[in-house]
């Protein structure tokens, strides 16, 4: 993890400028503390969003029980998934060995909401109220069939480790708007179990490590190593740093290395962070009505709701990419009960975040994304009983929603077939989604490249089409 802008990585910056074909002369080089910002200002694309809040639902929520309503499944509940629908699609090793694939209609009530008449299940009452702000994409699809590769694919463009994460790309491409806070902050819901998280999901891959997401944790030491050691008072620290700067200035005079000056600046930034991070994490100044909006959980540090509230505060401070990770959506069995818990934990706060941003006039330039890494099967994994069933992984289609940041509010993009198994129209591949997110931020996904081991890498690999239809 590392923070903010840097002044050091001479090579990579040069790579970016001279090989990234932005056509900037080397003369500009020395003056740039944050060259990547140029990308946003180079006028290639108008940026609609300035920042992203990505509410990542790890484990893959069931689109069929939340947003993608399929009456046919209810009609055919318990019948076998027709082989014609299943076709040659590959199944995970968890359900491929089943002797039968009984279809499951959702046990939850769906209703149409808002002017747009978007279908939302009873599990998401708060989200249902803001559907006119949301842009649903029901035709998402991915290539990976298991969590690790699917999360890695969605967040880095490749199913296998080694590439930079989406937030790292944005940090690299756009830098930070607040020099006292990192460009990319990660908040995970605490005490959740379920599918694991991987630090590579916010890692920098082959980009300089300063673009890694900084995980802010609940508790008194939100950023690793931020707090002074016990017994070291602010005065003691300040005094120490002043003397250190004296030593460094002297050393610079002796050895002549400009790198020393760069490092002195980093020490000052570290010092400022010791104030700025606790400030932004201290939510005690939030009025009661805000807590009420985000729900009771938001008073408990480390909950998804508390993290949503923090996300808004970080957005206000100019953090470029804020990513929440909420585990627990992997309902292979016991779905009816488990999904309720998940929704209870996330629904109100997610909706509140969108409302809150809207009220503050920030929704226009903040892109909010809600969704998981793939969808879930229309058939039951394990035994289908009167009150219980599970759903396996389903890469063929899933739903996510976006709000603000230049997306069209109140629309639904794409459609799945009546079985909720395949995509009927306007499929959005993971790379398309990534290209679209970058586009909303004013970045041409084909231009945000980094040359590593002889190849220009992109978040979208060699694919991706911007989904213009969802853009306002």
């Amino acid at each position: 993890m590392s923070l903010c802008n840097h002044t050091n990585s001479f090579y990579s910056r040069r790579d970016f400028l001279t090989r990234g074909s932005l056509g900037l002369g080397a003369a500009a080089l020395g003056m740039l503390s944050n060259p990547a910002k140029l990308l946003a200002n180079s006028g290639q694309l108008p940026a609609k969003a300035k920042r992203v809040i990505y509410l990542f639902q790890s484990g893959a929520p069931s689109q069929l029980d939340l947003f993608d309503y399929k009456p046919l499944l209810q009609k055919m509940h318990g019948e076998e998934l027709p082989p014609s629908i299943r076709g040659e699609t590959r199944l995970t090793g968890m359900s491929a060995g089943q002797s039968s694939f009984p279809l499951v209609g959702t046990p939850f009530q769906f209703a149409k909401h808002g002017q747009a008449g978007a279908s939302v299940s009873e599990l998401m009452p708060h989200t249902a109220k803001i559907v006119d702000q949301l842009c649903f994409v029901k035709s998402m699809y991915t290539e990976a069939i298991n969590h690790d590769p699917a999360v890695t694919f969605l967040l880095s463009g490749s199913q296998f480790p080694g590439r930079p994460s989406m937030g790292a790309w944005l940090s690299y491409g756009l830098g930070s708007d607040n020099e006292n806070l990192p460009a990319f902050v990660v908040l995970t819901t605490k005490d959740k179990t379920g599918q694991p998280l991987y630090s590579r999901s916010w890692g920098s891959g082959f980009l300089p490590s300063e673009h890694q997401g900084a995980q802010f944790r609940s508790g008194k030491n939100p950023v690793l190593y931020l707090e002074n050691p016990p017994g070291v008072s602010p005065q003691s620290r300040r005094g120490q740093l002043d003397r250190l700067q004296q030593l460094q200035a002297h050393q610079h005079g002796t050895v002549g290395d400009p790198e020393i000056l760069a490092r002195m600046a980093q020490y000052e930034m570290a010092y400022r962070m010791q104030t700025s991070v606790p400030e932004v994490m201290d939510v005690s100044d939030e009025p009661d009505h805000v807590y009420e909006m985000y729900g009771e959980d938001s008073r408990k540090p480390g909950t998804f709701a508390a993290n949503c509230l923090l996300a808004r505060r970080l957005a206000e401070k100019g953090v470029r990419f804020i990513q929440l990770f909420h585990q627990g959506w992997d309902q292979h069995g016991n779905l009816p009960k488990a999904i309720k818990v998940q929704c209870k934990e996330t629904d109100q706060a997610s909706a509140a975040l969108v409302k809150d941003l809207k009220q503050r006039g920030m929704l226009e330039d903040t892109l909010v994304i809600w969704g998981g890494e793939f969808g879930r099967t229309n058939y039951s994994q394990g035994r289908l009983t009167d009150d219980n069933f599970g759903r396996d992984h389903h890469p063929g289609c899933f739903t996510l929603w976006m709000a603000g940041g230049g997306t069209k509010p109140g629309i639904t993009h794409g459609e799945t077939d009546d079985f909720g198994y395949g995509i009927r129209s306007r499929g959005v591949h993971v790379h398309d989604f990534q290209a679209t997110v970058l586009n909303l931020l004013g970045i041409d996904h084909e231009e945000l490249t980094y040359k590593f081991q002889g190849r220009r890498f992109r978040l979208t690999d060699v694919h991706g089409h911007v989904v213009k239809d969802i853009m306002a």
Binding site: T92, S199, V255, R263, Q453
Partner: protein, 1055 residues
């Protein structure tokens, strides 16, 4: 000359749009000659080859620019892209100069452009005749004229470096001051600083060879072996966890010990790499040579439930291929996995030929959450090996005794009628079935059953039988079938199945577990061709035995199937029976050395798992062993049934022959039983010893090679034609005399004609010392990589290295003995102006030390460092909760619990690497997480680094320990305490001004702590290291001063 060319160019373009002014100007400024490799190809490769390069599928306009014959050929349009010597007729020139959107090259939508100088270079090159050359790194290194013309005893490095400096009008820097030089060579060669005595001795020595003597000492030290091992860990993507999904525990550190030992003994580099790539294939490999092959088992692995095995298995094969190419050849071979390489002359076909070397391992794509997975090697101590050998020889003797005894008894045994109830421990006639009060299933009145559903009672072979229709019909019987390796047992039953499905097995009965239990236990099943199989499993895919009938059984027909096992861990002693007769059978695996007692997931403790009937315990694999059909009359015996007995089970009315009865009688003979008991006891003893032996994952060839296919777009499920193992011909054709296995590959890598291996290696070690390679892109010697800054030097060194017998330490010595190495690193205005990046080495490079070195330096300076070499990884201080926050799948790596005592202070080389949650202080200083082979680390400068050095308990404690150490040395003299701390951390004396600054700091801090006694207690309480009994306020102030020095430039920067 330049002017005339400019004139010529202008003339040529006179009747066309004129040569743009900027291009003309650039043309005028070019040197006389442009070189294809060094000037032209970098432009073509970077901007043109994507569409006009080696990749056939991506090629546009049928134009290929990387080969001369094609580039100058007539195109479909009748034009020629390049007409050597003719700018006018070369359409390439027109396209690169064009302003028209549909004509300009590279096209606008490629987002690529050519600068004026690039255009000028291409124009000049075409004008000069468009001469092509093979890529520089694929031309074998050339002997230079150094030996003829260099001054006597001038270091060749200086000769080549000074030549370049002269061309740039730069002078080498004066020699570094002795203190900095000493610290530099200590840190470069060992990663540890000199101690106070080293410094004083060196300074006071008048010996002209004092530096060389230090170098010689360092090169043979274990510290040096550790420094070299540290670098190799990145290359080898070493980690202590699996990396994917659960990211559970693995144990590969014995391989790290091998690496340490190899560097300690200065094993020749060719041998070092050969053993790691193919140690198992060497003639009579030693234990160490096999351990060495763990190198290619260091890749990440998944245990994610539901993963498709073949997809991941092939990913591991790809990882080995890519790692070998990157680490040894400096090539980005993985670019040819999905299509022909876009820049380098490596076809997709060649990629898969290369991968075929690594595709012959009996391994699994999906393993379990925690543990090592086969092939594994057992790491028995010599004493243990001796014990096992002794038991083994006794076993051989006893088995031979057994045969002899049997022969002698054959006519003496009293004939008796078989007793089919003797040793019968489980018998299910399957004639009755019902539900218990609690809803459980009762079969034959036996309430030890459970079943999610309920198999139907139908007409069976004998009375009733049970019909299994769907997977939830399976039955689980507690307390049955619990056997270990040394137990003799037999199983028999009637089956009648209508299922035969590709890739699907049918479990009849067994208790073998799932992936998180190493599949441990035994199983009796039909495979997807309905052959009868028996396995006794300690751990798949390595430690088990497996016997299979050659014949398949017919469908929809009652078949009596049985097997017997005599408790001697030998597949030869397993007999399958079909319809009462011994089946024609084959042994698929006969390597069972450990127990087969069932275990649970997670902690992997022994559990008494219920015996499963009609379904396996496997999950996650897409193949759950669901039996469909009728079962009847299941019998399990705790002894070996004789043929007559099995025959009687099949046909109760069978009238036994004399021979059959004799066989039976023989088996009942008391002496023989006794002997058999003895054998089984020894097997038990031997197994118990084996059970204690740790294992390491290694490479092992399968006897029957696995076919390798070219995969369309690199996809596991799109195999195309088969290929045999081979190497890219553009590098060096594979010698037909070499074996087409990993050993042959290693020999090819180290062939005298291989143009890459030595260059890449020399460059990597140059990078380790100088912070940057002679080829800056140390991981890419291909067309897209950087060009060498000193090509002749690189060639000279690579020939030297090879001819020295790949003597790594001689190479390192040569480097550090050069003036170039020993010159000052002080940066002048002139340096910044002419060569800010220090490509030409007019000064010794400066860069921030790697993560490990920064921490080790702090530990060494403070006296905390524990110099224990090798062994398992350790867990120093780390902020709480980082592991469990990420995942809870791995039982063994659920929580990070810091070690106590010595393990807190070991060198960072030994710090535990959990890939999805590596030690944050290491990551912050750019240590990679070891997902992939890393040749070059980023070197960043971030505020987080400041926070680590200021606040991480490891550094705070080290500051305090250093303060204690300094105070102990000079109890009464603050100034000396400070200067001691300074020299221990930085290797040099503080100057007057630095001392004054630090003394002032001391005073200020002392005042602050004097006012707050509890603050002192808090600060000094950080870390386990015992606090001394001196004044706490003083110590607090000195701790802050020590920490300030720790945060200053010279502590963490190479100067």
């Amino acid at each position: 000359m330049n002017k005339s060319l400019l004139f010529l160019a202008l003339l040529l373009f006179a009747c066309q749009p004129s040569l743009p002014e900027d291009v003309a100007l650039a043309l005028a400024n070019l040197p006389d000659k442009v070189d294809y490799n060094f000037d032209v190809k970098p432009i073509l490769a970077d901007r043109c080859f994507t569409c006009h390069g080696p990749d056939e599928n991506a090629r546009k306009a049928d134009l290929r620019l990387d080969l001369k014959a094609e580039a100058i050929a007539t195109l479909a349009s009748d034009d020629r892209a390049i007409v050597p010597g003719s700018l006018k007729n070369s359409v390439l020139v027109r396209h690169i100069l064009s302003q028209e959107v549909d004509e300009i090259m590279p096209p606008p939508d490629s987002k690529l452009t050519l600068a004026a100088e690039d255009k000028a270079i291409l124009i000049k090159w075409i004008d000069n005749g468009a001469n092509y050359k093979k890529h520089w790194s694929l031309i074998p290194p050339k002997e230079s004229n150094y030996d003829d013309i260099a001054e006597q005893d001038q270091n060749p490095i200086d000769y080549f470096v000074h030549q370049k400096l002269k061309q740039a009008n730069l002078e080498p820097s004066p020699p570094s001051d002795p203190q900095r030089l000493l610290r530099r060579v200590f840190m470069d060669l060992t990663g540890l600083p000199p101690d106070a005595i080293d410094i004083a001795t060196f300074e006071n020595s008048t010996d002209p060879d004092r530096f060389e003597k230090i170098v010689d000492r360092l090169l043979v030290s274990s510290d040096c072996a550790e420094r070299l091992a540290m670098e190799w860990m990145d290359v080898a993507r070493y980690a202590d966890s699996h990396g994917l999904h659960a990211d559970g525990w693995r144990s590969m550190w014995p391989w790290r010990d091998y690496v340490l030992e190899a560097f300690q003994s200065n094993m020749p580099y060719d041998q070092f790499v050969t053993e790691q790539i193919a140690g198992d294939l060497l003639p009579n490999p030693t234990r160490e040579q096999i351990i060495a092959t763990a190198f290619h088992r260091n890749h990440p692995m998944t245990a994610e439930g539901g993963a498709i095995d073949e997809e991941f298995r092939l990913e591991y094969v790809a990882d080995r291929t890519n790692t070998t190419a990157t680490a040894i050849l400096g090539l980005t071979m993985e670019c040819a996995k999905c299509h022909d390489h876009k820049y380098d002359p490596i076809s997709q076909e060649e990629y898969y030929q290369m991968s075929a070397f690594f595709n012959n391992v009996k391994e699994l794509g999906m393993t379990g959450d925690d543990g090592n997975y086969g092939p594994v090697m057992q790491l028995a101590s010599e004493a243990t090996q001796a014990k096992i050998a002794e038991i083994q020889s006794t076993l051989v003797q006893l088995k031979s005794d057994r045969s002899q005894l049997a022969e002698s008894l054959i006519n003496e045994s009293t004939i008796r009628q078989p007793n089919l109830n003797a040793g019968l421990i489980t018998h299910l006639p399957m004639n009755r079935s019902g539900k218990s009060e609690h809803g459980g299933t009762i079969v034959d009145g036996n309430s030890g059953f459970s079943s999610p559903a309920k198999p139907q009672l139908v007409s069976g072979k004998i009375d009733q039988g049970l019909m299994f229709v769907e997977e939830y019909d399976a039955l689980y019987l507690t307390g049955a079938g619990r056997f270990d390796v040394h137990n003799a047992f037999s199983t028999a039953l009637w089956i009648n199945t209508s299922k035969q499905e590709k890739g699907m097995t049918q479990t009849l009965v067994g208790n073998a577990g799932d992936k998180n239990q190493h599949w441990r236990g035994w199983d009796f099943y039909l495979d997807d061709q309905n052959r009868i199989n028996v396995r006794l499993i300690h751990a798949l895919p390595d430690n088990y035995l497996h016997v299979r009938s050659r014949k398949t059984i017919p469908l929809d027909n009652w078949q009596h199937v049985a097997f017997t096992y005599d408790g001697t861990a030998d597949a030869e002693q397993v007999q399958i029976y079909l319809q009462g007769q011994p089946a024609d059978q084959e042994i698929l695996r006969n390597k069972l050395t450990k127990n087969i007692r069932t275990i649970g997931a997670g902690e992997q403790l022994e559990v008494d798992r219920a015996l499963a009937i009609a379904k396996s315990y496997r999950g996650f694999t897409g193949e759950n062993g669901i039996y469909q059909g009728i079962l009847d009359e299941l019998r399990i015996y705790e002894r070996v049934l004789t043929p007559i007995e099995v025959n009687l089970l099949y046909e109760p009315t069978h009238r036994a022959s004399e021979t059959e009865l004799q066989q039976y009688a023989l088996a009942q003979a008391t002496e023989l039983k006794k002997l058999q008991r003895k054998i089984q006891d020894l097997v038990q003893k031997k197994t118990a010893i084996h059970d204690t032996i740790p294992e390491i994952m290694v490479m092992e060839e399968m006897p029957t090679p696995r076919a390798t296919h070219v995969l369309m777009r690199g996809q596991y499920n799109s195999p195309m034609h088969e290929v045999k193992a081979g190497t890219p011909t553009s590098i060096l054709p594979f010698d037909e005399d070499l074996p087409r296995n990993r050993l042959g590959l290693a020999q090819w890598l180290f062939s005298d004609q291989n143009p890459l291996t030595s260059r890449v290696t020399v460059n990597r070690y140059w990078q380790m010392i100088f912070g940057r390679g002679i080829v800056k892109s140390a991981n890419d010697f291909g067309v897209q990589g950087s060009l060498p800054s000193h090509p002749e030097l690189l060639d000279w060194l690579s020939i030297y290295f090879r001819e020295s017998g790949w003597d790594l330490k001689a190479l390192l010595k040569l480097i550090v003995m050069s003036d170039t190495y020993q010159q000052s690193s002080i940066i002048t205005e002139e340096h910044l102006e002419i060569d800010p990046e220090n490509m030409l080495l007019a000064r010794s490079p400066s860069y921030r030390w790697p993560a490990e070195v920064i921490r080790d330096n702090a530990l060494a300076a403070s006296g905390l460092l524990v110099r224990k070499i090798g062994g398992p990884s350790v867990r120093p201080y780390q902020p709480e909760g980082l592991w469990i926050d990420k995942g809870t799948f791995s039982f063994k790596l659920l929580r990070y619990e810091p070690d106590r005592g010595d393990s807190l202070y070991r060198r960072s080389l030994y710090t535990f690497v959990k890939r999805t949650s590596p030690h944050p202080a290491m990551s912050i200083f750019d240590a990679p997480n070891r997902d992939v082979c890393t040749i070059q680390r980023e070197v960043t400068n971030t505020p987080m680094q400041a926070l680590v050095l200021l606040n991480d308990p490891q550094f705070v404690e080290a500051s305090r320990a250093l303060a204690q150490r300094a105070r102990q040395a000079y109890p009464e003299d603050i100034k000396k305490q400070i200067s001691t701390a300074f020299i221990l951390l930085t290797g040099r004396d503080a100057d007057q001004q630095e001392l004054e600054t630090l003394q002032a700091a001391y005073k200020e801090q002392r005042t602050l702590f004097a006012n707050d006694a509890s603050a002192s207690d808090d600060l000094l309480g950080v870390g386990e290291w015992p606090l001394d009994s001196g004044d706490k306020t003083d110590l607090s102030a000195l701790t802050m001063v020590a920490n300030t020095i720790m945060n200053s430039d010279e502590t963490y920067t190479r100067r």
